[in-house]
């Protein structure tokens, strides 16, 4: 028994997140019996990736921050002020905390016609496609599960999202939700192939789909190697997040929220963050494929955290770019979005595969 625990601790100690700056403190803390073990467990790289970054804690923090960044940035561009009244000294930064508190205490109304078990389950289950891809996205050298097919698995998980949104709309059993659901399915057909093909172009270029290997290979970031693929991937991910200018399924003006029109309380809160989760995951994937993941000038004292910081910074940049589209473009019609998805973006992604093949053959 003791031998197993010893072996387990040795296994964890062998693969710790190295932070030279904090080493003296950590060494003292490791000496304390229970706390030391707990710390070793948390700093064990796979668990650190799943729980802290890029996993659960970072996702939670971003979900708290991202809607605020979005509202503030879009307000700036549109000559407004944005969230202000809650903590005005900080520019209303805890706005979403207040919102989520409100969602938490609001009554969850399950209407008579809803298919009750699914109506309650789907919002909670929709966290699965949000959390699982994060296990395969590396933040620098920190990754939860190393897999030679990491990029494909992330893409597969991302394409699971519409399934849950279809489920939401179906369980709501309301006509607005129904129309929104059908639109979601349509838009899904519009972007999915372009998204996968443009990611495929990068995998062809790198010759591997191991996320760690991909981020290690990019001395020159992928966006310079294949800008066509980057553009196609960016537009496809803007469509995938179903936010403006492709907010077709939700369409506040005519569908009053689409698939989640019947939801209230904390269930609505869970659905509200789905698109932000998507933004985070797709930005992470874009950072990995096109911006070199966690590569950047290394800060020696931070050790493994250096790559992590670069990864988060680049992801934030991509997320802000995705979010700012809201202020620039009006919403496209469904047929226009489908045309954009099938015509220019699909063409771009096909060209990108050609570009990748050319580069692989020539270089």
């Amino acid at each position: 028994m003791t031998g197993t625990v010893e072996a387990l601790i040795n296994l964890m100690m062998a693969d710790q997140v190295a932070i030279p700056l904090l080493d003296p403190i950590l060494n003292i803390l490791y000496g304390i019996p229970l706390l030391g073990h707990l710390l070793a467990l948390i700093l064990w790289k796979p668990l650190f990736a799943a729980l802290i970054c890029p996993g659960f804690a970072t996702l939670g923090g971003l979900l708290m921050l991202l809607p605020w960044i979005e509202r503030k940035l879009v307000a700036r561009i549109q000559w407004r002020i944005g969230p202000h009244e809650i903590l005005p000294q900080m520019g209303g930064v805890i706005q979403l905390l207040a919102d989520s508190l409100r969602f938490l205490f609001q009554e969850v109304i399950v209407h008579r016609d809803a298919k009750q078990p699914y109506f309650l389950q789907f919002p909670v289950l929709s966290f699965i496609p949000a959390l699982l891809p994060l296990l395969f996205i590396p933040a620098g050298t920190i990754i939860a599960i190393e897999s030679p097919y990491g990029a494909q698995i992330v893409l597969a998980m991302v394409t699971l999202f519409p399934l849950f949104i279809l489920g939401l709309g179906w369980a709501s059993n309301s006509r607005f939700a129904y129309i929104g659901t059908v639109r979601e399915a349509f838009v899904y057909f519009g972007y999915e192939i372009a998204l996968i093909v443009s990611a495929f172009a990068m995998i062809v270029l790198y010759g591997t789909s191991d996320p760690l290997a991909i981020s290690g290979m990019q001395q020159v970031p992928g966006i310079i190697l294949n800008p066509v693929a980057a553009l196609a991937f960016f537009i496809a991910s803007a469509m995938a997040t179903s936010r403006l200018p492709f907010e077709i399924p939700e369409a506040d003006q005519e569908l009053a929220g689409g698939p989640h029109v019947e939801y209230s309380g904390i269930l609505f809160g869970l659905i509200y963050v789905i698109s932000y989760e998507k933004v985070y995951i797709l930005s992470g994937l874009m950072t990995l494929l096109f911006l070199g993941g966690g590569s950047g000038p290394e800060i020696r004292v931070l050790g493994d955290l250096s790559g992590l910081i670069w990864f988060i910074l680049k992801t934030l940049l991509v997320m802000i770019a995705l979010i700012a589209l809201r202020a620039i473009y009006p919403r496209y019609r469904l047929d226009q979005a489908l045309r954009i998805g099938w015509n220019p973006v699909f063409t771009l992604s096909t060209i990108a595969v050609g570009v990748s093949l050319m580069e692989v053959l020539l270089l």
């Binding site: 700036r76 000559w79 620039i328």
Partner: protein
């Protein structure tokens, strides 16, 4: 009939337009040109001619009823004061802030202010009595600066200036034409003595002569309010230049 069709742009023009849109967004994100005035904390600087809350100077009022006559919303009623004269009261529940009363006042007894944010507890209190109109209402000022809108070229800009904007307007008294009431056709006067009753200042006197009632206007004391002119049933009174 002309059919409206979407403009047929080439790919190059499309790209150019997209780039323009993104450039504008980036410029505004870095240096936004906000035109929002955060009202209780800063006020917009209103021009002196702003049509706001009215204040009243009873010393200048000649009780001519001009404001009450002209009011299109019937918000102004003349009320008899203790000294026997009539002064205006304004019902702000009816007032449409056209400031016709102010324009019609020959003596400048009604004065404009830039106050536009007065709250009342109920409808009855919106009827502002003469005594309440003499002093401006009590205002809690939260503003530390005021905001001016400047049109520069074709764009509207906002300029913030520190300091409080003075809400009371100090207008010079109107350049008035001295006028007095006079009878243009004494032959037609029926001697009904309405003008004598209506005169607030006791300027018109009547005396019974052998050929009937004779009216006399004391032109020295006449204020030219014109009440007698309005009321004269035979239309023989006129306001003339002094």
């Amino acid at each position: 009939m002309r059919k409206v069709v979407a403009p047929d742009y080439t790919v190059f023009e499309h790209v150019k337009r997209h780039v323009e849109a993104v450039k504008t967004a980036i410029r505004e994100a870095i240096i936004p040109e906000s035109v929002t005035c955060s009202y209780p904390k800063e006020r917009r600087k209103m021009p002196a001619s702003f049509r706001g809350y009215l204040i009243f100077d009873p010393d200048r009022c000649i009780s001519c009823f001009g404001c009450a006559f002209i009011c299109p919303a019937n918000a102004i009623r003349m009320k008899e004061a203790e000294d026997g004269r009539y002064y205006p009261t304004i019902d702000y529940g009816k007032c449409i802030f056209c400031h016709f009363c102010l324009d019609s006042c020959p003596e400048g007894a009604l004065k404009p202010t830039k106050i536009h944010d007065v709250a009342y507890r109920d409808l009855d209190r919106m009827l502002t009595l003469t005594e309440e109109m003499i002093e401006p209402p009590e205002i809690i000022r939260e503003d530390k600066r005021y905001v001016e809108y400047v049109i520069d070229g074709r764009d509207l800009h906002l300029r913030r200036v520190d300091g409080e904007d003075e809400l009371l307007v100090d207008l010079p008294p109107p350049s008035k034409v001295e006028r007095i009431a006079s009878c243009i056709d004494p032959e037609s006067c029926t001697g009904c003595r309405i003008c004598e009753e209506v005169c607030e200042h006791g300027v018109i006197r009547s005396s019974v002569e052998e050929d009937g009632v004779r009216m006399v206007i004391d032109s020295e004391r006449c204020t030219g309010c014109g009440l007698c002119v309005k009321e004269c049933s035979m239309r023989v009174l006129r306001l003339v230049r002094r």
